[in-house]
């Protein structure tokens, strides 16, 4: 064995082979360093993959591969008739992880749940401001501070949450990373020792993997949680090898230095599919890219102008040029993987001649406009400048002159919110909780004007439909309302819907059990390496 070790250690390939000799180690070449390990404090997917989906579990979980929720730490729940009271029965016998830095003395109970929510909610809670400038971004972003009435422990295994108003997406919110359940016992110990900051550096939860060590910008190590409530893992150790460059990740995957990688370069996908040692999973991502007109400013306040411009954009060309085909043209504001997606709606056909005529009929001549191009690549739009240039050429064909403008990212997000902003903005969205409300109301509702609603579009008919759908708890009824809302959206054309990008996950052939998440998460419970 000793000789074998020496021999293998020389090559990196040995990592995996030697790993299997004693223990099964799964290596994920992750794309970046987590900002911290407290999922409540952050919004980046990289952080959620490293903290929320490994170490923690939540009351509800997203069913693997879907955006539907299923019981997690809450075994069951009931909703009062008025839709305002949620009573959760906790799963009995759920064990927290035992690590080098903490040994739990009790199982999960209602105190943990109350603690996990209240620390984000109540500004006088001792943990609310435990890090300087820490902000509970998602908790606030999902509107929970205004929605929650109370969170109470009924008995050790029962928690009751009261809401101020009916809101159907609430359950899906509880499955989101920020709603991860922490150990109150661990937090109390840290507080007593004056080491509260450690909660963000050495996490401890009930999830499938226990945290072992993090070496900044290099590697995160976990071991399987032997008493995980969802069953023991097939792998023993999980390692995140942080590799920021996509081309280098691909080299590492090819060399066998990791088993799976996120976010490949679009240009590498063909080579990945051709490699006999690799396999590639793909799925439409839970995202949309759009061009938002400012519907309050002339001439974009005229429906005919917006419709005409929509007809002038050649989306296929954008998808080909920007994504090398790894995306699909978008028709609706929600992606096709999401429930309530309206299949009946037809997209505006690309027809420059008709567009030109529509503009003439609307009395618009010599229009020059600004198109805003994002300065950064996002999953839904890899190269906004390229897309803007293609639109510039498309619009030139119908006699519209385009000036492309761009700002630094934070400034771009800020300036594009202005109600009197000129021109049209390229932007997009990646879903948070798989609920259509998270796209339709968040991006197009009247409340979001001056904020996320970059089209500054407030349509009463649309707004009533999505508000009604938010309050209804019956999924069939909600589906119907959202389908109708999409019809109104398409008719009124506040956006040109551009694309939904594919999410592509290359991995070694011997990886089994990985399920792609429509939410874009990378979760490794249930994965296995077969020889």
């Amino acid at each position: 064995m000793k000789k074998l070790t020496t021999l293998l250690a020389a090559t990196a390939l040995a990592t995996l082979m030697a790993g299997t000799a004693w223990s099964k180690t799964f290596v994920f070449c992750s794309e970046g360093s987590p900002e911290g390990f407290d999922p409540g404090l952050y919004t980046a997917g990289t952080t959620f993959d490293a903290a929320a989906h490994t170490v923690y579990s939540r009351l509800l979980e997203f069913k693997k591969g879907t955006t539907e929720t299923e019981p997690g730490l809450a075994e069951s729940w009931t909703i009062s008739d008025d839709g305002l009271e949620y009573t959760f029965k906790l799963r009995p016998g759920v064990k927290f992880q035992t690590t080098e830095y903490f040994t739990p003395t009790r199982e999960l109970n209602a105190d943990d749940v109350v603690f996990s929510i209240e620390r984000q909610w109540k500004s006088d809670h001792p943990w609310h401001g435990y890090v300087t400038g820490g902000s509970w971004e998602y908790f606030a972003g999902m509107g929970l501070p205004e929605l929650l009435e109370s969170v109470e422990k009924v008995d050790d295994m029962t928690v009751k949450i009261k809401l101020k108003r009916k809101e159907a997406p609430f359950l899906a919110n509880l499955a989101m990373p920020f709603a991860s359940i922490m150990s109150k016992e661990y937090a109390d110990k840290l507080q007593a020792e004056g080491k509260m900051n450690q909660l963000n550096q050495m996490p401890l939860g009930t999830g499938p993997f226990a945290f072992v060590a993090y070496q900044q910008d290099a590697v995160i190590r976990y071991k399987a949680h032997p008493e995980f409530w969802g069953g023991k893992q097939k792998i023993d150790d999980l390692v995140f090898a942080i590799t920021t460059d996509a081309a280098v990740r691909f080299q590492k995957l090819q060399a066998g230095e990791c088993h799976l990688m996120p976010y490949p370069n679009a240009a590498d996908v063909e080579a990945m599919k051709a490699d006999p040692n690799l396999k590639v999973m793909e799925q439409a991502g839970l995202n949309v890219a759009y061009l938002a007109y400012n519907t309050t400013q002339p001439p974009f306040d005229k429906l005919e102008v917006r419709k005409a411009l929509n007809k002038a954009i050649n989306k296929e060309a954008i998808v080909d040029a920007v994504f090398q085909g790894q995306a699909q043209p978008a028709t609706n504001p929600i992606p096709p993987t999401m429930w309530s997606y309206n299949e009946q709606i037809e997209d505006d056909t690309y027809d420059p001649e008709a567009a030109k005529k529509m503009l003439e009929d609307a009395g618009v001549k010599d229009l020059s406009m600004k198109v805003w191009a994002m300065p950064v690549a996002r999953p839904y739009m890899l190269n906004a400048r390229r897309a803007a240039e293609l639109m510039q050429a498309d619009f030139a064909k119908v006699g519209v002159k385009v000036e492309i403008v761009s700002y630094e990212w934070a400034e771009y997000l800020e300036k594009s919110k202005a109600k009197d902003r000129d021109g049209a903005v390229i932007l997009g969205w990646t879903g948070d909780n798989g609920d259509p409300d998270n796209f339709l109301d968040t991006l197009l509702g009247c409340d979001a004007v001056g904020g996320n609603n970059r089209a500054q579009w407030c349509n009463q008919e649309f707004d009533e439909l999505v508000t009604k759908a938010k309050e209804a708890s019956d999924v069939a009824e909600r589906t119907k309302l959202y389908e109708e809302a999409q019809v109104v959206f398409k008719r009124e054309a506040p956006w040109a819907t551009l694309d939904h990008s594919l999410s592509i996950v290359p991995m070694r052939k011997n990886v089994e059990g990985f399920v792609q998440s429509p939410l874009g998460d990378f979760a490794f419970d249930g994965v296995d390496i077969v020889e």
């Binding site: 070790t5 020389a10 606030a140 900044q216 910008d217 390692v239 460059d245 080299q251 997009g428």
Partner: protein, 334 residues
């Protein structure tokens, strides 16, 4: 000598303050609001924005912010990262050894290869050796680091599979960090093969980071040697009948070294800049990659703290180089 040293040290203090002002204001001149970036595409309400800005002290007059910062720095407090919420100094100390280790290897590589190459090129001036060495140096100097790194990874790690693609050590080795220097820690760990693995991981990044300094050092050595070789005392030494090795290696090289040592000192600064790219390509957990990430996140505390510490390090290295002159050429000491 001691007075000389004190004089140099006195110059460093205003320089340090100057650098702190530049580092502090420079990052604030960049457009982009670090607080707004915390929520990304999600919109933060103006009230929450104001609250977080207040917690971070961004609502105060910039001069006050600077003075507070400087006061903290003088007490050794470089602030706390907006993103990771960890003290900047802690993170720096954790990451800096990786950069030092890589930079030291790169500079040793550049010196060990660059000086002999320059000497050979000078002695064999105009020959095919000279042309090959100087041609290669020109290419090395002009090559974009990112491209060169990826090229080497694809060829040496990908096709030939001689070295690992990235990282500092094979993931199968896991031991606590003692010194932060992987070569030393791997030896201390006593785990078999760990040192070899660490060494293997160093090869490509060392070559990539060392390429530009190597080219510069080789060219500088060549021109300094050419100058010295035409001096009278070299002719005299030759006339005395000394061997070429003694003439070149002892009489000429020692005198040619003065401009070369200056160059090496200056290359340390260049190398820290190169480290940003090299570390990014090779997923090398050093301060270069850390700073780059912090710029895109507008993590003010990290950028200004990091720049300041790096500037201090470069100033100290330059001071050391100045002192070295004294050893090489006693005439400079006064």
């Amino acid at each position: 000598m001691f007075r000389f040293f004190l004089g140099r040290l006195a110059v460093l203090i205003p320089t340090f303050i100057g650098v702190s002002i530049i580092a502090f204001s420079f990052i604030r001149l960049l457009p982009g609001d670090p607080v707004a970036l915390l929520s990304g595409e999600r919109v933060m309400s103006p009230e929450r924005h104001a609250e977080i800005s207040r917690q971070l002290g961004f609502d105060r007059p910039i001069v006050m912010q600077y003075l507070d910062y400087l006061w903290g720095v003088l007490q050794g407090d470089f602030g706390t990262s907006i993103v990771t919420k960890r003290p900047v100094m802690d993170q720096f100390l954790e990451l800096f050894p990786a950069t030092v280790e890589l930079s030291l290897c790169a500079i040793i590589f550049a010196v060990l290869v660059g000086i002999p190459a320059g000497v050979v090129a000078a002695v064999k001036r105009g020959s095919i050796f000279d042309q090959i060495i100087m041609g290669t140096a020109l290419v090395g100097f002009s090559m974009p680091i990112f491209w060169w790194g990826l090229l080497l990874i694809m060829l040496v790690s990908g096709t030939l599979q001689w070295t690992p693609v990235s990282g500092r050590i094979s993931l199968m080795f896991y031991f606590p960090s003692v010194t932060g220097f992987m070569l030393i820690d791997s030896l201390l760990s006593g785990q078999e093969g760990a040192f070899r693995s660490a060494l293997h991981h160093l090869i490509l990044p060392t070559i990539v980071l060392g390429t530009i300094p190597l080219a510069v050092i080789a060219r500088q050595t060549r021109s300094a040697m050419l100058e010295v070789l035409s001096e009278d005392y070299v002719r005299t030494a030759r006339a005395k009948g000394l061997s070429t090795f003694r003439v070149v290696g002892i009489h000429a090289l020692r005198n040619a070294m003065i401009p070369v040592v200056t160059t090496i000192g200056l290359q340390i600064g260049v190398m820290l800049a190169g480290a940003i790219l090299t570390e990014t390509i090779f997923s090398w957990p050093g301060i270069g990659k850390w700073l780059l990430d912090s710029v895109s996140r507008r993590d003010y505390a990290v950028i200004q703290g990091g720049l300041l510490i790096i500037a201090a390090v470069i100033m100290l290295v330059n001071l050391a180089v100045d002192l070295l002159y004294g050893l090489i050429n006693p005439r400079i000491r006064h």
